[in-house]
Assembly symmetry: C2
Homo-oligomer: 411 residues x 2
């Protein structure tokens, strides 16, 4: 493990590794779920822990420069201290780092409003696999001077170079929050409602989907009672945020939805809100309490979500009838997390079955977790031969010796 | 000129040109301002005119697939017919094409709300310079399966391949519009007000900046009187749009601004609004009426805009004292259009002087027009040697024979 203190030292590490034909695995908070930051065959781990500087917030330009090793929580705190906010949030905020989030194009809870990481990265500094230092941190909102290096490095999973810093877009701080949980008669009704909220409610920050079986499991795991609104086949957790209280706007938007089965649960206090979010956020831990979880993270077109859910449940029922299936996700952007756990679960068989369904439905085998090591063998079924040939050409161009994270992304 | 009818014919053209070592200039609406779609030394012009299909609007997913040759106006009409909208608008809408707008990462009037083209492109189909067909048009909001080809091709100015189609994000149609013109005591006050509106007014669609000398010229050119609000050193044209009438929100936001010199002019009707916008949109034609215009399109950090304007005026005064300087722009994103016209204007000298100031202020020599042929010699002063080395490596990887728009972008 090497822990360079600045970009010059990062370049020295890359140069030394090139000279000795040793591969590098960049590692940030190591919170990824597809093995992208884990050494597999003696690679040098390049830790970004010391590249942790968070610069001064530019209030006029609404930007900040952050080192790759800064945690999301530190970045959020710096933004908050200046009266603004960062547009991406996720559960691993205390550990996940800016560099890892850029490298994986991390998504999280507020993509429906602010986009994923790629939409936040206005400038980048990185050392490419051939030792080239790229650096353009001006952070301008409009800058058509050459190819989009920030976008290309974002989501490249450490296979093209080491991201050392990024200029990040900031967003207004919306302190007034309104949260509601709404039960629907069917998955299709909940998905339609989610799409209507995305189009119709400007202050929408998040729209999460859950199901009766998952909620029952979470309630048992946490030892809490479920609100009546969550006793329905499909349940949305909806949050709006604005400078002025968005409760009335949220209530109007909810009142116009079809297919609700009960009065929505509306959070009246921060404690209420935390209770509602806890039901959503405890899904992974409720699954983990049952054993080793097979985790998949997929997107399908919104209209195909009911089909996806029906077919995934049927496939698991066939392959491992005693297993538990937990589905939940960010319905606003078509993203479903599939968790399968319990007796008789063969992770390869489950993964093959679920991802085949996703591909058939025109979806993505990785919504936000990336390809990493775990999904590499699936890439050729998700992307065309031409696309993969273009990926390989780009990889060869920027990392000619193939030393950057060689076990990740490309099959 | 070749006019292929589909992507297979595009691939055949690229293959034939490679075999005969002939270069290709892709051409859409040919509305660019930096010479990027114009043949210079006997290149084949590949017209996208026949790749003009606009697919069915996906209302649930809020996407549409459009051929490269479809005009922006046709795309906008297709979106409108389905009750939604496209997030990018610009004056050349009747001629500019989707392919050209993708290739140049076009910006325009509503970047402050919806971003430039790169933020709209969810999927892409293209033939690369080495003949590879890349195609991934699923248009999912979250899809981390490999390098960001849409983002890379967006803004590549035809130097990596020919974009043949794109899956584009659609946005809600905000039919209620409120427009105001506000005069400020100084450029600095107007810029501060612009930044405050971007942060504070969610429904903000556009915030344009103009100046007393430009407005006087436009008024004389059009033969109209200026509203009192526009008789000020610096003037903002502000537009908000929402599902419900945003007039009150706009008025509240305007009332909280500092440095206004007169009562704002508020549009009470569509005709009023057109009159206010005409004052902004007639700037280029008022300049063109005075002769051949040197046009530059730059971004600087918001705080540096007053400095930029002062220094550009001083430089032109020194180089061509009898010339007219027109400045106007999209102040929300730091973008200023610099027009210089009149006796004694040497375009090279003006360009050198203005772009040197921009680079000194930490700005971009091309905000939204791109590099093309016109600004190629400036790229090494705007981007580092490392960045340009990376651009060259990517270019060689995807266009190994250098047949794609060889006179554009890279010096």
């Amino acid at each position: 493990v090497v822990r360079p203190a600045d970009v010059v030292e990062v370049a020295a590490v890359v140069t030394a590794c090139r000279a000795h034909h040793v591969a590098i695995v960049p590692q940030g908070g190591n919170t990824g779920l597809v093995g992208g930051s884990v050494p597999h065959e003696g690679e040098v781990v390049l830790s970004t822990a010391r590249l942790a500087l968070v610069g001064e917030v530019d209030r006029a330009g609404m930007t900040v420069v952050a080192g790759a090793g800064a945690t999301l929580a530190r970045l959020q705190a710096a933004a908050r201290a200046s009266g603004v906010a960062f547009g991406v949030d996720l559960g691993a905020r205390d550990t996940a780092t800016v560099g890892g989030m850029v490298a994986t194009n991390a998504g999280g809870l507020n993509v429906v409003r602010f986009g994923a990481m790629r939409a936040q990265v206005l400038g980048i500094e990185a050392v490419l696999g051939d030792g080239t230092l790229v650096r353009h941190l001006a952070g301008l909102r409009k800058d058509n001077t050459g190819y989009d290096l920030p976008g290309l490095l974002c989501g490249s999973e450490g296979t093209l170079g080491v991201v050392t810093a990024a200029t990040l877009r900031l967003v207004p701080s919306y302190d007034e929050v309104a949260t509601a949980m709404i039960g629907f008669e069917s998955v299709a009704a909940a998905v339609r409602a989610g799409a209507a909220l995305v189009s119709g409610l400007e202050a929408l920050n998040a729209v999460e989907i859950m199901f009766d079986d998952g909620l029952a499991l979470v309630a048992a795991h946490l030892g809490v009672a479920l609100p009546p609104a969550s006793r329905a086949p499909a349940v949305l957790l909806v949050e709006a945020a604005a400078a002025e209280d968005p409760t009335a706007d949220l209530a109007d938007a909810v009142a116009s939805l079809d297919g609700c089965v009960a009065e929505p649960a509306v959070a009246r206090s921060a404690a209420d809100r935390d209770r509602l979010w806890r039901l959503r956020e405890a899904h992974p831990e409720a699954a983990a309490a049952l054993g080793v979880v097979v985790k998949l993270d997929v997107t399908v077109p919104l209209g195909a979500i009911p089909d996806l859910h029906r077919r995934v449940r049927a496939a698991v029922e066939r392959l491992a009838p005693a297993a538990t299936v937990l589905l939940y996700g960010h319905v606003g952007d078509g993203n479903t997390h599939v968790n399968v756990v319990g007796p008789g679960v063969d992770s390869d068989a489950i993964e093959d079955a679920v991802l085949a369904i996703v591909v058939e439905l025109g979806g993505s085998i990785s919504a936000e977790h990336g390809i990493g090591v775990a999904k590499r063998r699936w890439l050729p079924r998700a992307r065309s031969a031409g696309d993969i040939a273009a990926f390989r050409a780009i990889k060869r161009a920027l990392d000619p010796d193939g030393i950057m994270n060689p076990n990740v992304l490309l099959p």
